[in-house]
Amino acid sequence: MSNTDDIRWVTQLTLLGDKSAFDKLTCKYQSPIRRFFLNLTVGDAPLSDDLAQETFIKAYLNINSFKGLSGFSTWLYRIAYNVFYDSARAQKHYEDINEQLIDSQYQMQNEFSVEKMDIYKALNILRKEEQTAVLLFYMEDKTHNEIAKIMNCPLGTVKTYILKGKEKLSVYLTQAGYGNNKN
């Protein structure tokens, strides 16, 4: 499904109030948005679902502010980013995240194996802004320009976040033997 579909569905929603068009948009973007939150909350599935739900409701209520200058996906991630940081500021939850919490979540969700565990541990060595930029770039395949729009910061800052994140992750993964196992 292309961006043309997104624009068509947004038009149906804004002009005709056609709710089924928003159903299609939610269905299309639920997976990437929930995955984005799941990684940012180091695997807290109930919290990430709540945040994703809030994101879609905000998108629905503010759909008239979507001007189509950037893609619908970028606009939606921008809302998701704001929802996450509002929530983090309100709860002061994420500053307290530490190894113990990740370990306990791993024990609760051990059906997902070591793979998910190590992505959360790897992300946890980064600052929140670096985590966001790295996830958007490497996991969600967003460009630097799109990330700058989502995070509402200069392009140079985004590049710095990604570069620093990359350096830290490179050291961490090499020490964990990831590169060696691959080759």
């Binding site: 939610t26 997976s31 929930r34 739900q53 409701i57 629905y60 793979e115 993964l173 590169g179």
Partner: protein
């Protein structure tokens, strides 16, 4: 060179852990929580009615409709019927291509 290697390692690391999350009723839960908004489908009907009224007004004033009716008197009923049945056929073909387009 080193950067490219690191980039590849990180791309591989994240893409191997990229999961598609099944909907499992998430969309339905979101749709249920959306506030009700007025149905604005009537806008389409209003514009259609205005468009038709303008067309008929201009058609009558310019004598176009009378001319068409005059011509139709001389056309065989079979041609007229064939013409009328063409509309749903052309419409269906158009709808088919619109729904099955792959771009």
């Amino acid at each position: 060179m080193e950067t490219t290697k690191t980039d590849k390692m990180l791309k591989d690391f994240f893409s191997e852990r990229k999961q598609e999350i099944a909907d499992n009723g998430f969309t339905q839960r979101v749709m249920r929580k959306l506030p009700e908004q007025p149905d604005r489908a009537w806008i389409v009907w209003i514009f259609t009615a205005i468009g038709m009224a303008i067309s008929i007004y201009l058609g009558i004033n310019s004598g176009l409709i009378q001319t068409i009716l005059m011509y139709m008197e001389h056309i065989s009923i079979y041609y007229l019927l064939a013409g009328i049945f063409c509309f749903p056929l052309v419409g269906s073909i158009g709808m088919y291509f619109a729904q099955n387009r792959n771009f």
